[in-house]
Symmetry: C2
Subunit: 458 residues, 2 copies
């Protein structure tokens, strides 16, 4: 790749202007008042893709908001990179906490301030401009497809069916995504895994009504006490989850990746101070980053039962309830875990209460091994532009559609994100440093170059 | 005692008329709109006591509703019986579930239907009429005092200070109370014990805010999971409470009383069916009646934390809370238990969370050994009028003032109640069988006769 920095430097103001036009469309997917904005935003993307050099670009219908698809096929013998991004954004409430109008982007202190500045208009638009750069400088080394959806912030519910329906059109060799972050501006990193999840509601019932805790206390099972015991029994003294078979399918991470992950700077004192906790706590034998990155966990997200208002009421409640979720790691089948949990929880229910488990929803974990061509292409690209090798990081969070791509399209996604923890995505005063925006545009062409080379070597 | 049945038979209509006048005064202590009714009701009691033969009767001020005091001192060498009762009643809501006006008593199907018909106007008024009977037939064998309060249904808060203040006036040899029930019309029983209680709120805090359960789950302690474990650990596998020293002061019941208690009919199938439970559950080695009667217990009365609304939200909550109570038995010092629990719960708190315990309130347990003159006097009186020996029963509930009498006045109370489980006290359609009302009036004079004899033998 030649002339990358020069091209960016020459066009940097126009890049910003174009991004700002995209940002000015308030494409909030969760608010039905913005239905027309979704279509406007999709059309703007189509226009930009064509201008950047796509052979064709369309606004395609889905069962929800439309999906923008564009492509440039230069040679069917060359590998195909598909860019995934989303043009929808989160709501802006509480609006009073914003220092500026969220849909009137400005640059201040070297950052772009606006809703979508990072997530994901700023990050996805870098790909449009990197694509333009490669086309206009005559250096595009791969076929390119773009799939930019409008429902990522509301769970990508309709994108699964869209992928099933357009499997052939979306056929590609790797999916490239910038919708995550990196550790710091001087510590590049690539997200090599996401956790899956499952979520249940559990109900424990005892008598047919709340009872007098004096008259019945000690003789009739208390469903809260029972539920607490059942929940307590789901972890052993080392913080391992006790559901039989729960860890059976957990893939052990490679020593190399674990060692690399371990290089990520982690300041425990600062971590504890920011959360105001006295100690971190989790599964024995793992570091904090490992506990959230490569190990599953089980958390009660909510619990309730009996008298929960002010003051005291002596009562032996009839029911107790909890919402319980697990985060899963690579190779754990969330549907299997869903069944295992339900079976286990109902089987350990004491005979003196009635226990029921209601499955709510689940999603698969995702992992991208660091020895795949896609990962290596990203790693080398970042090494080139940042001057140091990026670290693989595992995110504790879940992005269901990434696992969906692998399942439906059979392709790994590379999560090469350029956001920072301080970008305030989903929050007031979202921002994106100009440094990251331009560094992203600079890095992406090297990914294509590296991927084309590594792919041919396979 | 002679002519007891005859006197009752001659005056039975008048007794009812007088009781109905008392019931018609809506003396609901928890509703401030009824402040004047409280005074009217107290004055009506004063009038009735004087008419029944009291030497003096007064409506005495307390820090709350007034207390009716009356006495007839026949001979200071004779023992003194003090009758305790209350003229206040519970609210009537939900009024739409009443079949009749709660303050317009009627007799139907052999029952009096009204608020207070049993609790405690009907039961306490039996004592006024039994007193009248003994005076008018010239057979009063003891000195008599009456203390009828107006705040029993709101915790007798001001009666403790009243007793302290009037210790000399209230000096007596036994306190006789009809504010409890018996097993059935053909199975008389006497309440020989009440449980005490203590009530706390506990709070477990982890991070300074609710956290993303993906990003932090597994690495930061979940306060709900921690609270569940702490609650679960408070019982062992046999249902014993694990707080160190918790059982140290529990008095073991006599073999005789345990055997007598065991004679109380108990239909487990019917008990389970009425509560719609599959099994009873409690401390190993004790029957259902023993579990509620002679053993302490620990129940979570309420628990809450995290997301408890409809649907699912993945969150690692910052806090979890519970309201926990224990019921205590004879000789357990509730203040000591209060401290033990707090000390224990805070001491077992894991270092990665902050746990605090807020004591709410407590009350002492009460026990009346079945070999005291008062108990025996009641037992023999019921044997005379019911034709069979009454069984001692331990109530699982708590009436704080009964233990207060023992502490302040140094006198045992005899809980000779004539109510039935079907009387619907505190509920719509409260009622009291005429059989029980008249049988109570018939039985009480024999108590006085027996007590005078047994007291002299001491």
């Amino acid at each position: 790749m030649n002339g990358v920095k020069q091209y960016i430097d020459t066009n940097k103001e126009r890049f910003l202007d174009e991004l700002f036009d995209l940002i000015r469309i308030p494409s909030i997917s969760s608010e039905s008042a913005h239905k027309e904005d979704m279509v406007r935003c999709a059309n703007k993307w189509k226009e930009y893709l064509l201008a950047a050099g796509a052979d064709k670009a369309e606004v395609m219908p889905s069962n929800g908001n439309p999906v923008v698809y564009g492509e440039k096929i230069i040679d069917t013998n060359k590998p195909t990179v598909m860019v995934y991004g989303h043009y929808d954004v989160m709501p802006v409430a509480p609006i009073e906490l914003w220092n500026t109008n969220p849909f009137d982007p400005i640059v201040k202190d070297g950052h772009i301030w606006a809703r979508g500045a990072d997530d994901d208009k700023g990050q996805s638009f870098m790909h449009a401009k990197a694509f333009e750069l490669m086309v206009k400088t005559g250096q595009l080394p791969c076929n390119v497809k773009f799939m930019i959806e409008g429902e990522e912030e509301i769970g990508s519910t309709n994108l699964y069916a869209f992928c099933e329906q357009h499997k052939d059109l979306l056929q590609c060799d790797v999916i490239l995504v910038s919708d995550t972050g990196m550790i710091a501006q001087d510590i590049p990193s690539i997200t090599s895994g996401l956790r899956g999840l499952y979520y249940w509601e559990v109900d424990v019932k005892s008598a047919n009504r709340d009872l007098h805790s004096g008259i019945y206390g000690g003789a009739v099972a208390n469903p809260i006490n029972v539920l607490c015991k059942m929940i307590a029994d789901m972890h052993d003294e080392n913080g391992h989850i006790t559901i039989p078979g729960f860890y059976d399918d957990v893939l052990v991470i490679s020593d190399e990746e674990r060692a690399l992950m371990g290089q990520a700077p982690f300041d425990e004192a600062q971590y504890k101070a920011s959360l105001d906790i006295k100690e971190v706590h989790g599964e024995k034998g793992y570091t904090t980053n490992e506990r959230t990155g490569i190990r599953p966990c089980l958390d009660v997200c909510g619990i309730w039962g009996g008298y929960i208002n002010e003051g005291s009421k002596t009562v032996l409640p009839a029911e107790a309830h909890a919402k319980i979720s697990v985060r899963l790691v690579a190779n754990q089948d969330y549907e299997k875990i869903g069944r295992q949990f339900q079976q286990y929880f109902e089987s350990v229910a004491p005979s003196y209460v009635t226990v029921s488990v209601t499955p709510c929803h689940g999603g698969a974990a995702y992992v991208c091994p660091i020895n795949t061509p896609g990962y290596k292409a990203a790693e080398q690209a970042m090494t080139t532009t940042f001057g140091k090798r990026p670290l693989p990081t595992r995110s504790g969070g879940s992005i269901g559609i990434i696992a969906g791509f692998e399942r439906i399209l059979g392709v790994k996604s590379i999560l090469m994100g350029f956001g920072l923890g301080s970008d305030a995505i989903h929050a007031p005063n979202e921002n994106y440093p100009l440094f990251n925006f331009y560094k992203g545009i600079e890095t992406i062409p090297y990914f294509y170059e590296n991927f084309a080379q590594l792919y041919n070597k396979q």
